[in-house]
């Protein structure tokens, strides 16, 4: 079953009187456990597609469903629910809450679902090798460590997909590599990952690279075959 199923996704932005088309009809399927990279020059619409895939935004037209559940016509709060439970975000700029410890940052998505979070959050931090830094605040952590906290926050809810937007863009190449390794490990454990990048060396870690241009999918490149997942999930739901 496709985790992501997108058909004829169109997104227009209103700029004054005119509608500017950003996505002109995207069809995309992502299977469970797949690792997909979205590539394209700036202005190609990859961020917009990412926002729609992440339920942060809704398409102007077209069908989008996650795990078989159509989400293109959900209300704002229903979208928030989907984001909280089924999607994990990793951003280029980490987007951790300052003045909040690593552990509390990771706990937050579970808190919004009204769930007890401490144990699951510790486990998620362990899986990115940061358990020993749980009480550090973001400004006490290095860039790589911050991104690992962000990944822990993304996986703590055991989501259907992890959406990573240029996750190595703000890191030096060595730390970037470490982060990509974490994604690779998550992929091996069966987590579905969609990663946006403009860096071919990052994209080559994926199973499949989707090239976007001017709001269309230009071509799809199969990089390597999927290996069988080692485990079903990273974090068991408590």
């Amino acid at each position: 079953m496709s985790v992501i199923l997108a058909r004829k996704i169109v997104k227009n932005y209103h700029l004054g009187e005119v509608d500017v088309p950003v996505l002109k009809g995207i069809d995309l399927d992502v299977e469970k456990g797949e690792y997909v990279a979205l590539m394209g020059p700036s202005g190609s619409g990859k961020s917009t597609l990412m926002n729609i895939l992440g339920c942060l935004d809704v398409p102007t037209s077209g069908l989008y469903s996650i795990e078989g559940r159509p989400v293109s016509d959900l209300t704002e709060d229903e979208l928030a629910e989907v984001r909280g439970r089924r999607i994990g975000f990793v951003f280029q700029t980490f987007n951790l809450l300052a003045r909040t410890s690593a552990l509390e940052n990771v706990e937050l998505p579970l808190h919004y679902q009204g769930r007890e979070a401490r144990q699951a959050a510790m486990k998620a931090l362990e899986s990115v090798n940061l358990a020993h830094r749980y009480d550090h605040h973001p400004n006490q952590l290095s860039g790589g460590e911050r991104q690992r906290v962000a990944i822990a926050r993304a996986i703590v809810t055991d989501p259907a997909i992890i959406l990573a937007d240029e996750p190595t863009g703000n890191l030096d190449s060595k730390t970037g590599k470490e982060i990509l390794e974490i994604f690779e490990n998550l992929s091996l454990k069966g987590v579905t990952i969609v990663l946006v990048t403009h860096d071919p060396s990052v994209a080559k870690h994926a199973h499949r690279v989707v090239h976007l241009k001017d709001g269309w999918i230009e071509r799809v490149e199969e990089v390597r075959a999927r290996t069988a997942p080692r485990a079903n999930s990273v974090v068991e739901t408590p």
């Binding site: 942060l56 704002e76 928030a80 984001r83 909280g84 809450l97 919004y112």
Partner: protein, 412 residues
């Protein structure tokens, strides 16, 4: 659990900008403090005035000359000449009347040697002593024979005696009232504090002397009656009214030419006006609380703008509108709750300090005007500050909750 965590989040957010948060809290502290202190001062005035009235004696009924049209706000103690000594004698025979004293008043220059003081001269009878709850400190009061003989004798209030004689013993000495010599028989006890009633500043002479040898008139300024017990005041008032009607031969629908009032009515009037004063003071103070609320709204709006990105992050990881709304509402409520709590302490402290200030002592005539902290002012001001926190926090919180997550995340 939820509230503990939410409160912690709010405190963390507020402590990120300590000066700004402190100023917002201060606005509420001053507002709540002002309400409590102002009401305490107003209540103090009320208590003070009631004390004064009680000191004057609570079982009193007054008869004033002249009529007052119904519904008028104040008693018109006009100089209409309708009351006379015969009325006193008639009233004295009424059941439950313990004592009756006529009063006739005028202000004169009082002279002793080369000293000169303006004082109220009150012509009355020895019953006055009993009715007004006075006792003679020194010497004696004039008796019935002085009244029958229209003698030129007087008894002095403590305050005027001090002013006129200084350290000298006034008993037996002669003072001049309207260039006529009067012998001082006694000095009354010092009632103190009632300067607005002026009893300590008055000179008392036999009523007949006052009428015939000083004022040259035949009519009284008022008749003061004391009733045996408080329960009988209302019934006695009616009897006095009836008796006066009979004495003055007023029948049917004719307007009476006198007015009967009880001390209770005076006390109620005083309570009404000081109550109005208290409400006015509280209203002014509530305005400052409102201004404090606007301060909260101001910093919350700034805070929402500054934390647009944080709101975006929270929404991206699953926060719903109501989660964001709650977060910001709890934050503004935290400000108002903190402000309210500190404001109670501030107001209570202020209510203690104000009566001690020299300026206030001067204003309140010797510093006996104390503040009385009323529990309901604490409840009202604290409740109002909570309301202010919610009311003025609502708009910024709604604004925050409606932010578009994509735009919020893009915000630099």
């Amino acid at each position: 659990m939820f509230f503990v965590r939410a409160f912690k989040v709010a405190l963390t957010a507020l402590s990120a900008n300590k000066l700004r948060s402190t100023l917002a809290v201060l606005g509420i502290v001053i507002g709540v403090g002002a309400v409590i202190a102002m009401v305490a001062m107003g209540k103090g005035a009320q208590v003070k005035i009631e004390e004064g009235i009680t000191k004057m004696g609570v079982n009193m009924i007054f008869v004033y000359p002249g009529a007052v049209s119904k519904g008028a706000s104040g008693a018109k103690t006009s100089s209409a000449e309708t009351l006379c000594l015969e009325d006193c004698d008639a009233i004295a025979k009424i059941e439950h009347v313990a004592a009756v004293a006529p009063e006739v008043r005028r202000t004169y220059q009082i002279k002793y040697m080369n000293r000169n003081e303006a004082a109220q001269v009150i012509g009355t009878t020895p019953s006055h002593l009993q009715i007004r709850n006075f006792s003679v400190e020194h010497g004696a009061y004039f008796d019935k024979s002085a009244i029958l003989g229209r003698l030129r004798v007087c008894v002095m209030g403590a305050s005027i005696a001090r002013k006129l004689f200084g350290g000298i013993d006034p008993i037996g000495r002669m003072i001049q009232i309207d260039r006529k010599n009067f012998q001082v028989l006694g000095v009354l006890e010092d009632k103190g504090g009632d300067s607005w009633v002026g009893l300590d500043d008055s000179v008392y002479v036999p009523v007949t002397t006052a009428l015939h040898r000083l004022f040259n008139r035949r009519h009284l300024s008022q008749i003061t009656i004391s009733v045996d017990t408080q329960e009988n005041i209302d019934s006695t008032m009616n009897l006095v009214d009836d008796e006066m009607m009979k004495q003055h031969k007023i029948k049917g629908k004719a307007e009476p030419d006198f007015l009967v009032r009880s001390m209770n009515e005076w006390r109620q009037r005083a309570a009404e006006s000081t109550g109005a004063l208290t409400v006015l003071l509280m209203g002014i103070a509530l305005v400052s609380l409102l201004v404090g609320g606007i301060g909260i709204m101001n910093i919350m709006l700034v805070s929402v703008t500054e934390r647009t990105r944080e709101i975006g992050i929270r929404k991206a990881i699953g926060a719903k509108r109501r989660d964001i709304l709650k977060q910001f509402l709890i934050e503004s409520m935290t400000i108002s709750l903190l402000g309210g709590t500190l404001g109670i302490a501030f107001g209570v402290a202020l209510a203690q300090i104000i009566p001690m200030l020299p300026v206030w002592k001067q204003m309140s005539n010797g510093g006996e005007w104390q503040s009385v902290i009323s529990p309901w002012s604490i409840v009202v001001s604290f409740g109002f500050s909570c309301f202010v926190g919610i009311f003025f926090g609502l708009y910024p919180a709604v604004k925050a909750s409606r932010l578009n997550p994509v735009e919020a995340l893009r915000y630099e």
